[in-house]
Amino acid sequence: MLWNITRRRLRKNRRGISNIIVVALSLVIILAIGSNLVLWNYEMNQVDWEKMKENLSITNVENGIYSSWLLAQSEYTVTSGSRTSGDYTDTQAVGGGYESFSETAVGGSGVTLIDAESFEGVWTPRGWIATGNWAKENNYAHNGTFSADFDGEEGGASGYLTSPSMNCSDTDAVYVDFWWNDHALDNGDFMLEYYNGSTWNTHQDLNQVASGNGWHHYTETLTDSQYFVSNFQIRWWANSVWSGENACVDVVTVTKSAGASSYSLDLNGHFVIDLNEYPLEDIQTVEIHLRFRTDDSAENWYLKAYNWITSTYSDSGFNSTEGKTPTLGWDYYAVNLTDAWQNYVDTDGTVNVKLVDEGADSAPTYVAVDFLGVRVQKYGTRCTFENVGGLTVHLVSLWITNSTDHQHYNINVFVNSAETKSYLREDIILPTGGYTIKVVTERGNTAVYSGS
């Protein structure tokens, strides 16, 4: 009815149609503007809402990147003490089996049998016997001017340098200490032999104990009872040494224990850094970690490393030189070689590690080694991000600032919701002293970490 009336009116007054069209078009334009703005506003609100829902934190920042553990690949050399169970493979992982050692009596403070023979006087020294090319020469000497020197020759030369006979029948430990020089020697070229009163036993191939040209320090506490005889002798056997090769011996000291009253343990491990994976120029420092247990809490234990500059085992320059006092349970002991690491890593990546007690004492301590490993710390920074928000975050910017510098790095890291992600940058070196690390997300949020 109403529609019929309206149609009749419109037929009578045609101007009404124009008004309706104008109003309708205006409404369409207003609607277009309104909907456009509402939709855009919705989109921007969505952006802001997503920004508000982001929840990111930096949970940890590590200065330096650690290598995997470098483990002993051969049996430990026990220069004082004895191995009682297990082998070196038991020290390659925490838990499981372990390798155990016991302190044995040392004679370092007992009776001196050979007193730092340096071959400075008449050749051969009294009681010594030299065969082959052994001679007193001054081209190599660890102490003084001369050493006992064996020069090789075409076709190979051999000869023995034999110590005087020593009465060791009244002891339970003989302490042998000398320096030897390696010049282009091969395995099997230079042997250390002991005489038990009836036969000579080849005790060590010295080139396998320590290789590389130069002087090497050999120390050993001999506790094998077969050598506690009245005519104990030591000899160095130069075996088929060729021209251009030579071996030297210097500063020979032999003492025997006056009685089983003091005990000590000294073991050495051989570790090698893969320089292809960890070039020397990328190394920031080196760490040594030990997990061990003893049955005596009265003496400290020390980790040392072979200093290739001074040719001695030392802990000079380590972050801690106080040693570790055992608790009678499993203890962790770690040392960092700090900036001095270069003195302790040979050019081929070799690191020789020593575990030694504080000093000889009256108790024969039992030591179990569960883990002994070396690891390299490279330059770089590792950040750990934790996203506890409901959205994936895209990290686009990383800042490292301190009082003097503001370093900016572009990054491209996605961290899923409820995920913790480790981010490694080898080109970032944290500043010394206090610093702040800031990470910025693509939506504009920031997470901050302060460290020093």
Binding site: M44, H406, E442
Partner: protein, 133 residues
């Protein structure tokens, strides 16, 4: 045609209708253009988002690292430090871009400054920052 030529009054309604059509089309064009301009400006204003990632107080200069996290490009039009306009190097950031905005001004150690960055569309980012001691 003959009828039109005979009756001159017949052409008037045609002309008036054509004129009205032209006027209506022109009006609509103006209205649509105005709509586009108005909505586009509102779009841009609503789509601006700017954050200050870092503030670095250096010698006679305060440097702000800005990141455009909005949906449109941003042009920095003014920088105020403690409500005083400061000279700065021009900076325009496209969507997702970032860069340093260097503001030339002297500052005192261990002081709090209110720094406001204003864009060409009027969006501002204002925050307080402490200078190093």
């Amino acid at each position: 045609m003959r009828k039109l030529l005979r009756s001159r009054r017949g052409i008037t309604p045609v002309l008036s209708s054509l004129l009205m059509t032209v006027i209506a089309v022109a009006g609509m064009s103006i209205a649509i253009t105005a709509t586009y301009i108005i909505t586009d400006n509102l779009h841009d204003n609503m789509g601006e988002r700017l954050i200050v990632e870092d503030v670095w107080f250096t010698s006679d200069q305060v440097s702000l690292y800005l990141r455009n996290v909005g949906k449109v490009s941003v042009n920095v039009a003014a920088v105020y430090i403690d409500r005083v306009g400061q000279p700065f190097t021009a900076l325009e950031l496209e969507q997702g871009e970032h860069g340093w905005l260097n503001v030339t001004c002297s500052w005192s150690v261990d002081s709090v400054y209110e720094i406001k960055v204003v864009t060409g569309r009027g969006t501002d980012v204002v925050e307080y920052y402490t200078s190093p001691s």
